[in-house]
Structures are given as structure tokens and as C-alpha cells.
């Protein structure tokens, strides 16, 4: 018996029973620290053994009184065919005399099934083995039973061993000389019972008419009859390794069979799902779920479709039984051979969606949706929305946009570059370019190497204030190189005042190492030492910067000097890219500065400026091209400094967009910096996409601002007219005529004078439609509000309903719809305004 463990949820929602050789009652509690009395049944719950009932042996079937509220009343079917009523200790049923009573058939034989009726809960059905001409399905009514008991006032009212005592008779009997394999009460009708009989029939009986069955079918599948909780028509039963699904309206043959690999042990419909059937196979650690969909098309019922799903409740041994929770959605208890109990909730398929307003929403079962804002993901969409709100990119001055990008160094660099390059071009520092934002490469490419070679400046380190040096520092100068230094905001030709100013700025920003490195690159080692020693201890680098200053003070370019050897060895241990670059520069051999130029932690403009100072003409272009290609590949917008607003720059922007999804900056930079390319399809697509995004966010004002800015750069392209007026008689366009009329008058006249004077079709001279309120022809000004001023207010504009095509002066229309719902035209019941209200909802 021990191997055959059964489990069942009780009607009390946090209690369940298990039974094998004894019946145990457990209570489910939220999981807490392990104590001796509880054991875990899931991640969130544990169970505590409350009571055991060992009064009965040889149990075949157990059911619980479905209206149990505080205590459980059990009906236990025994091998001798009796049904014992029992409880766990003293209970509310004691006064009614239920516990200890037995329901006894006339002839003892094995009891196969015991089942309380869920609706009429005093009815118990028992299914028994065959015995000669005795009935095998007995229905008892325990309410009568308790009455007879109170009359006799004895405890043991029924006992076949004491024939003197009056027996309680079953209220109904079916299945004469038959064998009952399994039973199921119908859920909708409390008097109907389905029985699997004789290993060859399923029969439906009605208690009100015990003599004849109301429906039956011939099948071997007589085991585990289960009726869908939501649809009494649908039955399931099994035999061996096959589940049969039945529809009572067509009971002759099953509507579906579901084959299994192994013999079945138990099937049960899910009480909380209308179409889910669970099944358990022998020697298996999984539960199979079947979702069975029925549908009706027209009058014809389509064959059901079945989806199988396998649930692994996670018990290490084979499951012997399971039970659905009657109220909690999809909650399942399983018990394994070893006695391991698992409380498992089958997750429903949940759908998920993402709103344009940045909420993630997902469904949970059939009742609820959950949603959460995606702010916590810190996505580019959140940043773009914030940017659009602050009119990022629409500020007239480029550098103001740089301030609007929060902590995004790359983007603020781009805007600062746009600002600086435009300023340099406007100031005439950079000349000879057609565009406002030339790239470094295009400037360098203009360097005519044959006519004007770069001038080499050689300075001895010793003269520069480094007494322990013998060698010289060498750098290049050229007109075009100077322009690049301007673009990188570096000082020209080591101009001390501008250098100090630049370094002070960096110092203010706390970029001590960068300042020091730039000082060193401008050959002002002493300045760098000062800078580093001035750095406060509280900075991230702390005291180490002072140490660096000390190291720097010992600068010597003698290849054999201890200083140089030491620095070459230990510079790789530095983490700060600028310090690394600084020492790499000072310890470089033969003016080979590769390790400075490839130090990716150094800002691109610093590297470019450095290259401009220290690379020879041939190498410079090579390096810049290499760098530009690399940055383009990475989609690093710093590369714009190199490419400028060329087609390479566009490719770089595309790459940036591909890698970040930041359509906002892409569209805005293209709009502001790439005027020449505004006509290309790629840029048009970017702009279109950004506008689409703003539309989705309902940021119509921001979008209008964007359109206005766009129009500034495309003075020849007016936004296309979206409304056309044509005469309803001759069909010729009136707007075309008006446009021709306007052409000579300047664009601001368009809305004014002429429109008002035109009240008939210029082609056929038929009058234009009338305002449905004042009955004046279109084009006539409203007279009421005329106060002599030439203002053509919105009130005079003509408007009409897109649905019924009736309309009039907008002033009149607004007035009308303040008081009415329907169209002002007699006989037209169009709800023009309300239609509009749908669209403009929220």
C-alpha cells in the first residue's frame, strides 16, 4: 500500500490530505525558516502536518465532504465495500453523528469509487465490484442518515454485523449485476452521474429515474471518468495508455483520443480553466496538460484541437498522484512515490507588449495585466524623450545643445565641434572650404606638399628648462596644421598665454592629468609639474599625482639615464591614459610616438592635435586616415572631427545610429551639420523616423519646431499643401487658381485678402458652397465680428467635416457644436464633432 500514495486538496483552501495506508492532513503556510514541523513544498510555501487518521485500513477511495468549512469530513471507501465516515479528531460533525458511521452495501465486495456530490453535498455515490444481482452503484444520502441516527440515539446505527439494527438504505441504486469502475457527478446537474461500467460501457444515470440510463456508449475506456468543470458535455476517461474525450451530444464515438507512451494513472480537468485536462502516466515524473479547444463555425462544430504541454513539478521521483486546487488558478499538488509533495503553479502563456509610452505590459492568466515603466533600463528611448522635451538639438547656438546632453561626452563633443568649426569658418580662420564644418582630413588634404612643406621647429630640451637633457624636441608647423590645432582648441606654436588659459580651463574641470599631458606635449614640462603638484589630494588619483610630479621633475632624455629606463618600464603600470601618453612621449625613441597616438583613452581631438604637432607630412595624413577609419568602424562620433560633414561623416552617423539607436542625435546632427545632404534619401529617412517618433510621443509642438528648423535649411522646399479645394460643379481646382493669384503678391497674402474675395469658381463662375450657418458663400468674411481691422482671424476660415463634408466658417462651427451634437445641415445626422472627439481622445 505504501507505494500507492494519493493526494487531494481539501475544500478548505490551505489544507490538503494525502492517503496511502493512513490519512494525513496538512496545512499550507507561506515559506519561512525551516522548523521541525514544516517542510517545503515550493519556493514560496511549506506544509505542516496537522493530523493523521489511522482508523481505517484497506482504503480504496477517499473523498472529502465538499462543504467542509472548519473540519474535514471524509468518506472512505474500503475493500469490503463499506464507506466509512471519518474526521480528524473531534469536529463540528460530531453533534450530527457522522464520524464513525459506515454505509454498508448488502453484500461486501470491493469499493472502487466514493464521491460526494458537489452541489447536493449530502449525496455520496459509491461504485462497487460486481456481486450477483446486486447493484454496483449506490447513492447514499447522509442527511437522512443522521436523522435516523438521532432517533435511535445510538452511535452505531448501521452495521451489518448487527442485523437487528435498521439499515440505512441507499436512496438510489443502479447497475444491477454490473461492475462500476469509476464515477463522476455532473457539475451542472446534481442528479446526473456518469459511470464507467463493466470495462465496456460509460453510462449516464439520472437519480430521478433509476430504472433506465439516459445515455451510454460502448468503450473500454471506463477509468478515471472526469467531467469538465465548465462544460458538462465534455467528458474524459482513459484506458491503458489512451485518453478518450467525449461529447455527450455525440456519444457514440470519442471526439478525440490522446495516446500516451505509458499506461495512465489519473486524469483530471482543471477547475480554473475551461479546457485544460491534466493526466499522469505510470512511472513518470511529469504531468501532461492538454488544452482542448472547441469552436463553432456557423452551425458546424469544428473538430477540437489539442495542445499538449508537459509540466515538470520538480519532484525527483515518479509521481503517484496529483490534485488541482479548486480556486487558485492553475495550482497543482503532486505526490511522489517517496512521499515528496510539490505545490506547483502552472504558468500560463503570457503575452507581452511595450507601449509607445515606455511601459512594459504582460498578462498574468486571465484576469490581470501587469505593467511597469521601463525607466530603470536607462535606455536611449528614455533619453531621447527627455531630450525632445528640453528642445535638445533645436537651440540656435550649437554649444547650448551640448549643455542639454546630460553627461554624454561624445554628443557634447559633437555639438562643441559644430560650434567651434562654424565659428572658425565664420571668423575666417579656416578659409577655402565650401562647408561650415570641415573635417581635419579635408583640411590636411589641401596641404600641397610640393609647394609648401611643413616647417620643422627644433628646440633643445635644455633650453626649455630641463637642465638634465641633451636632446632636442622637434615639431612641425604649417598653416593648415594651425587650423587643425584651432579645431582641437589647442594653442598655436606653444603660445604661452593661450596655453595657460586652456590649461586653466581644464584644471577647473578637474582634468589634471589631461592638462599636464597637454602641457608636456607643448614642451612645457615645468608647467606640467606645477599642475600635477597643485592637484588636490581628494581627487581620484590622490597623492599619486604628486608622485607623478616628482617623477616628472627628474625628466631626462638621455637614453641611458636611470630616469628614462625606469619610466619606460613602469609607464605601463599607469592606468590614467594621459599620464601614460605623457611618459610615452617623454621616453619616445627617434621621435616615434605610436604609443601616444594609439592610446585610445586620450581624447580624439588631443590625439589629432598631437599628431599635427609631431608627425611628419607623410605620416600625418596616413595616421589621420587610419584613425578616421577606425572611429567610423566603431561608430564613434568623435570621428566627425576628422571626417567633417562629408559622405564619410554620413557613414559615420549611420554607424552611430546602427550601434546606439539614437535617431534623435543622428537626425539633429544631420539636420544642423549636413545641410548639403538634406536631400539624400538616407537623411530624409532619418528625419522622417525622428518625426514619426515625436508623433508617437504626441510631442507635436516639438515636432513643429523641428519642422521649422528643417524649413530654414530648405528655403526652396515648402511643405506641400495638404488640402485642395476644387469646384463641386466643374471639378477644376480652385486652390491652383488662388496659388497663381498669390504668386505675384508675396506669400503672406495667401491667407488674407484674396481668399476672402473669391466666392465663386474662377472657371465656371458657379458659387462656392455656403457656410451652413450663415448661408454665405465660401470666401465671404463673417460680418458679425468685423471690427474694421484687417485681421483675418481663424474664425473666418472655412472648415468642414471629413465625414459628411458639411461645413462653414470655423467660428460659426465652433459656436454650433458648443450647443449641438449633430451637423447643422438639415437632415444630416452626422455627429461631426463627436467623430473628431474619438480621434482626439486623451
Amino acid at each position: 500500500m505504501a507505494g500507492k500514495l494519493e493526494i487531494q486538496w481539501s475544500p478548505i483552501s490551505n489544507k490538503f490530505i494525502t492517503w496511502g495506508s493512513e490519512i494525513c492532513l496538512y496545512e499550507v503556510q507561506p515559506a519561512r525558516e525551516t522548523s521541525a514541523h514544516v517542510f517545503s513544498i515550493s519556493n514560496t510555501h511549506c506544509a505542516q502536518l496537522l493530523a493523521t487518521n489511522t482508523n481505517h485500513r484497506y482504503m480504496r477511495s477517499v473523498d472529502i465532504y465538499p462543504k467542509s468549512e472548519n473540519d474535514l469530513l471524509l468518506a472512505i471507501g474500503l475493500t469490503n465495500g463499506r464507506v466509512a465516515l471519518s474526521t480528524f479528531g473531534p469536529s463540528e460533525y460530531d453533534t450530527r453523528g457522522f464520524p464513525g458511521k459506515e454505509l454498508v452495501p448488502k453484500h461486501p465486495r470491493q469499493c472502487n469509487a466514493v464521491l460526494f456530490n458537489r452541489n447536493d453535498s449530502y449525496l455520496i455515490a459509491t461504485g462497487l465490484d460486481k456481486f450477483r444481482s446486486d447493484s454496483s452503484v449506490l447513492i447514499w444520502d447522509i442527511s437522512k442518515f443522521s436523522n435516523s441516527d438521532s432517533n435511535n440515539s445510538g452511535r452505531l446505527a448501521v452495521n451489518t454485523m448487527a442485523p437487528a439494527v435498521e439499515l440505512v438504505k441507499p436512496v438510489a441504486e443502479f447497475g444491477m449485476s454490473e461492475l462500476a469502475n469509476s464515477l463522476a457527478w455532473f457539475h451542472g446537474s446534481s442528479r446526473l452521474l456518469a459511470c464507467g461500467m463493466n470495462l465496456k460501457n460509460i453510462k449516464i444515470y439520472d437519480m430521478r429515474d433509476p430504472n433506465k440510463m439516459i445515455n451510454s456508449t460502448v468503450t473500454k475506456a471506463v477509468y478515471g471518468i472526469s467531467i469538465n468543470y465548465h462544460e458538462d458535455r465534455h467528458l474524459a476517461s482513459f484506458f491503458d495508455n489512451m485518453i478518450y474525450l467525449w461529447d455527450l451530444r455525440n456519444f457514440e464515438k470519442p471526439i478525440q483520443t490522446l495516446p500516451h507512451a505509458k499506461p495512465l494513472v489519473k486524469i483530471e480537468w482543471c477547475p480554473t480553466r475551461s479546457s485544460v485536462l491534466a493526466s499522469l502516466q505510470k512511472d513518470s515524473s511529469v504531468i501532461n496538460l492538454y488544452d482542448i479547444q472547441h469552436t463553432v463555425v456557423g452551425n458546424e462544430e469544428v473538430e477540437p484541437t489539442v495542445m499538449e504541454r508537459v509540466v515538470v513539478p520538480g519532484s525527483p521521483h515518479n509521481i503517484t498522484s496529483f490534485s488541482w486546487h479548486s480556486n487558485d488558478e492553475n495550482r497543482l499538488l503532486t505526490i511522489a512515490v517517496s512521499g515528496t509533495i510539490k505545490d506547483y503553479i502552472v504558468f500560463d502563456r503570457s503575452t507581452v507588449n511595450w507601449t509607445p509610452t515606455s511601459c512594459i505590459v504582460w498578462s498574468k492568466g486571465r484576469k490581470t495585466l501587469r505593467y511597469i515603466n521601463d525607466d530603470f533600463l536607462n535606455d536611449v528611448s528614455t533619453r531621447m524623450k527627455e531630450g525632445a522635451r528640453t528642445r535638445y538639438g533645436l537651440q540656435e547656438d550649437f554649444y547650448k545643445n551640448a549643455k542639454l546632453v546630460n553627461n554624454n561626452e561624445i554628443l557634447s563633443n559633437v555639438w562643441n565641434w559644430l560650434h567651434l568649426s562654424a565659428k572658425l569658418v565664420d571668423d575666417g580662420v579656416i578659409r577655402g572650404t565650401s562647408c561650415r564644418h570641415p573635417g581635419v582630413i579635408s583640411i590636411i588634404s589641401k596641404m600641397d606638399l610640393n609647394t609648401t612643406k611643413s616647417e620643422t621647429v627644433t628646440l633643445s630640451w635644455a633650453e626649455l628648462g630641463n637642465p638634465s637633457c641633451q636632446g632636442c624636441a622637434k615639431y612641425y608647423r604649417h598653416e593648415e596644421r594651425d587650423k587643425i590645432l584651432h579645431l582641437c582648441s589647442w594653442p598655436l606654436d606653444r603660445d604661452l598665454p593661450s596655453l595657460t588659459k586652456f590649461l586653466e580651463q581644464l584644471e577647473k574641470e578637474g582634468a589634471y592629468t589631461r592638462a599636464a599631458a597637454i602641457a608636456v606635449f607643448n614642451l612645457a614640462v615645468q608647467l606640467a609639474i606645477d599642475l600635477l603638484s597643485k592637484a588636490p589630494d581628494t581627487a581620484d588619483f590622490g597623492s599619486s599625482l604628486n608622485v607623478v610630479a616628482m617623477a616628472l621633475a627628474g625628466f631626462s632624455d638621455d637614453a641611458t639615464s636611470v630616469w628614462k629606463q625606469f619610466c619606460s618600464n613602469s609607464k605601463n603600470k599607469l592606468t590614467d591614459p594621459y599620464l601614460k601618453a605623457m611618459f610615452a612621449f617623454l621616453t619616445a625613441e627617434n621621435y616615434n610616438y605610436d604609443s601616444v597616438l594609439t592610446e585610445s583613452g586620450v581624447a580624439v581631438d588631443d590625439r589629432v592635435a598631437f599628431a599635427c604637432m609631431f608627425l611628419s607630412d607623410g605620416k600625418l595624413l596616413e595616421y589621420l586616415k587610419w584613425l578616421s577609419e577606425k572611429l567610423c568602424d566603431e561608430g564613434n562620433l568623435d570621428g566627425l572631427l576628422l571626417t567633417g560633414n562629408t559622405s564619410d561623416g554620413l557613414k559615420l552617423l549611420q554607424k552611430y545610429l546602427d550601434s546606439t539607436g539614437d535617431i534623435q542625435s543622428t537626425a539633429l546632427i544631420a539636420l544642423r551639420g549636413f545641410h548639403a545632404d538634406l536631400g539624400t534619401q538616407v537623411v530624409k529617412d532619418w528625419i522622417e523616423n525622428y518625426k514619426y517618433l515625436l508623433d508617437t510621443w504626441k510631442m507635436f509642438y516639438e515636432r513643429a519646431d523641428f519642422d521649422i528648423m528643417l524649413a530654414q535649411f530648405k528655403p526652396n522646399e515648402k511643405p506641400p499643401r495638404q488640402v485642395y479645394i476644387s469646384c463641386s460643379f466643374c471639378g477644376k481646382s480652385i486652390s491652383a487658381y488662388m496659388a497663381a493669384l498669390n504668386r505675384g503678391r508675396g506669400q503672406f497674402q495667401r491667407m488674407a485678402g484674396t481668399a476672402n474675395k473669391l466666392s465663386s469658381c474662377p472657371n465656371c463662375r458657379k458659387p462656392l458652397p455656403r457656410c451652413s450657418i450663415c448661408l454665405m458663400h465660401m470666401g465671404t468674411t463673417t460680418t458679425g465680428e468685423m471690427d474694421g481691422s484687417k485681421s483675418v482671424s481663424f474664425d473666418n476660415w472655412f472648415t468642414w467635416c471629413q465625414s459628411c463634408r458639411h461645413g462653414g466658417h470655423s467660428g460659426h462651427m465652433t459656436q454650433w457644436f458648443k450647443e449641438h451634437q449633430e451637423c447643422p445641415v438639415t437632415g444630416c445626422s452626422c455627429r461631426c464633432f463627436a467623430i473628431n472627439a474619438i480621434a482626439s481622445k486623451t
Partner: protein, 366 residues
């Protein structure tokens, strides 16, 4: 922490789909209970039920909104073999100045399919009012309303045979004129031997036909959902596929001027089996930079693009209502007798097969 809000939608059966309108202020839900419900967001951010109706005589699989320039229009598809187009209209009003009661009417019922219609989606608005459906019998149908003012007239423009039962479809949402119309269709055919389960179709303006551009042969497991990311001007398209895991696939159109036929470079960029079980749905955020997926583990998982072609998991939202965490969390509560604390995915349901079909007319449903 991040607390998930809850909407009580009270469907009587499983919710299959949630759809938002263009602005995200209206919501439609559909369920196995045959009903569709429309919700509006009030000014304080709460969702209120506007209308609820029995839309079909079978499970309603999908619901989708048309672009608002066509009015307030929904399309649904169902197990009852039909797809339907619905429009919201204004009824009698109590008095002037008040907004009338609104209700939804069926404008058309598309009955061409002989099996369950598994997905329905409106095409990009630049192409007018187009509707694509796919069905379990393996046919993709493209309908068009020639007159956008008359939603009761739809003509079946194209019927594309897909050979395998279709479970889901997605339009490429690209706004660019450079990109021809493109559709991705997924199949939930359980047999791996029938080959790739994701098909890419493209409309050729020259031949005026939809032609199959690509079969993604690396995916042979049943596909339950797929979704194109908003293109946003990218040079490639991103397709997310829900199958036994989450896949992210880049489709890069390659320049090929001679033939006039687009060539696609298909690359599976990422593959996440974080759900450790079947994946049901995938969806993108508005920029196509984060992907959300739901799976049998009852969790919603989020994947974010960290750099070009590089994606990583960034969060898990648990379906059972516990607060969402941005890191994969382990349950810290259950410490039963010797039983190991397990991640949710370990104790979860696994779909081993879909649709145990004995009769040829049966269709698996996803």
C-alpha cells in the same frame, strides 16, 4: 524598487494579446473567452474599460490597431477561422457638448481561411490600409481597403502559400522608400525535418507579387512569435524570434541593382536560452533597442543592445507579481529540508511538443 502596476481586465479565459494604439493611450485585449476589450488611459494614468464585446466564436488570438489616420480601427483574428475589422463609432448622446457613447462595430469579416487564423497585422501606413493574415493552413493573405473611408470593403490582394502552418507574422515597419515592403512569417510546425520555420517575404513593385526572399534555416523548432524592431533609420533590420529560445537576427539588405531583387544578409546575432523553456512572445520597445520576451517560466525577460551586434540580458520581470528586478534574482525564501533553492526556470513547465495531432484536419495552436 520598481513596483509593477496591475490592471484588472477580468477576461474569463486566457489573455492572448494586448495591443496599443499608435500613441499608447488606448489598449485592446483579447482572450480565449471570445471577447475583445478596449481600454482608455485616463489623465491620471489609470486604464478604464471603454467597451467590451464578443468578437468571435472561438479564442481570439491577436488584436491590432490601425494607424490613427485611418480612424479608430482594430483587427482581430480567431480560432473560428475568421479575421475581422472593427471600427469605433459614436452612438446616441445624452446631451449636447458631451461626448457620445462609443461602441465598436464589425466592418468586415474575412472568411477566406479554412482553418484558424493565427495572426493579423496592419501594414505600414505609407502603403495605405493593408492587412495581412496568416493561418494554420499555411496561407498568408494580404487584404487592402481601396477606399480608406469605407472599411467594409476589403479586397484580397495576394495569397501566398507558405506550405507550413503559420503561427505569427510581422511587417517590417521601415519608413524608408529604399526598403520594399517586407513580411516575416513564422511556423509552429513541430517537425524539425520540415526545415526552417521563419520566412521572409518581399513585395516586388515590378512583378506586383510577394516573393519569398529567405528561409531562415537555422531555426527548425516551432516558432511562436516574431517581431521586427522599429527600423529607426538603421541600415539593417532586426528580427526577434520566439522559439525554444530567444533569437535576434539581423537582416541587412545588400545593394544589388542589376536584378532589382533585394538580397538579404541574414545573421543570427544572439541566442538566449535564459527562459530555459519555450518562449511565447517577443516585443520591442519604441526604438528597437530593448527586447522583451515571455516564456514558460512565467517571467518576462529583457535584452538590451549594448553595442552594435551585441545584446545582453538586462532584467527579469516575474509574472507572479513579485517586484521586478533588474538582475536575475534567486528566490531567497524557500529553504526547505535540504531542498536547494532553485531558480524559477528549473522548476518550470517545459513544452516538449506542441499539438499531438491524430487527425489531419487538426491544427496545433500556439
Amino acid at each position: 524598487m520598481f513596483e509593477a502596476q496591475e490592471i484588472n481586465v477580468e477576461h474569463k479565459d486566457l489573455i492572448h494579446d494586448v495591443a496599443y494604439d499608435f500613441y499608447g493611450h488606448r489598449m485592446a485585449t483579447c482572450s480565449s473567452d471570445h471577447y475583445v476589450k478596449v481600454w482608455d488611459q485616463t489623465s491620471d494614468g489609470k486604464w478604464s474599460l471603454t467597451y467590451s464585446w464578443k468578437a468571435h466564436s472561438g479564442s481570439v488570438w491577436k488584436v491590432t490597431w490601425a494607424h490613427p489616420e485611418f480612424g479608430q480601427v482594430l483587427a482581430t483574428c480567431s480560432f473560428d477561422r475568421t479575421a475581422a475589422v472593427w471600427e469605433e463609432i459614436v452612438g446616441e448622446t445624452p446631451g449636447p457638448g458631451e461626448r457620445g457613447t462609443r461602441h465598436w462595430v464589425r466592418r468586415t469579416n474575412l472568411v477566406d481561411s479554412r482553418t484558424s487564423v493565427t495572426d493579423v497585422k496592419f501594414g505600414p501606413k505609407t502603403q495605405g490600409l493593408q492587412l495581412a493574415t496568416c493561418s494554420a493552413e499555411g496561407i498568408i493573405r494580404i487584404y487592402e481597403a481601396p477606399d480608406v473611408m469605407n472599411l467594409s470593403q476589403w479586397t484580397l490582394q495576394h495569397e501566398v502559400q507558405c506550405k507550413l502552418p503559420c503561427s505569427c507574422l510581422s511587417w517590417n515597419p521601415s519608413l524608408s522608400k529604399l526598403h520594399p515592403q517586407m513580411l516575416a512569417v513564422g511556423s509552429d510546425d513541430p517537425n524539425p525535418a520540415s526545415g526552417g520555420k521563419v520566412f521572409i517575404y518581399e513585395y516586388s513593385e515590378n512583378s506586383r507579387r510577394w516573393t519569398k526572399l529567405e528561409t531562415i534555416s537555422s531555426i527548425t523548432d516551432p516558432v511562436h512569435d516574431l517581431s521586427f524592431a522599429p527600423n529607426l533609420g538603421r541600415s539593417f533590420h532586426i528580427l526577434a524570434v520566439a522559439t525554444k529560445d530567444v533569437r535576434i537576427i539581423n537582416l541587412t539588405p545588400e545593394e544589388d541593382d542589376q536584378s532589382g531583387v533585394t538580397k538579404l544578409d541574414v545573421q543570427t546575432i544572439s541566442q538566449f536560452d535564459d527562459h530555459n523553456s519555450l518562449v511565447w512572445r517577443v516585443c520591442w520597445n519604441i526604438t528597437g533597442t530593448i527586447l522583451a520576451s515571455s516564456g514558460d517560466d512565467g517571467c518576462v525577460r529583457l535584452f538590451k543592445m549594448t553595442y552594435i551586434d551585441s545584446w545582453k540580458p538586462v532584467g527579469v520581470l516575474k509574472g507572479d507579481g513579485s517586484p521586478a528586478l533588474s538582475d536575475v534574482q534567486r528566490s531567497s525564501t524557500a529553504t526547505g529540508s535540504g531542498s536547494q533553492t532553485s531558480t524559477p526556470s528549473q522548476t518550470t513547465a517545459r513544452y516538449i511538443k506542441l499539438g499531438s495531432i491524430t487527425q489531419p484536419r487538426d491544427v496545433p495552436w500556439h
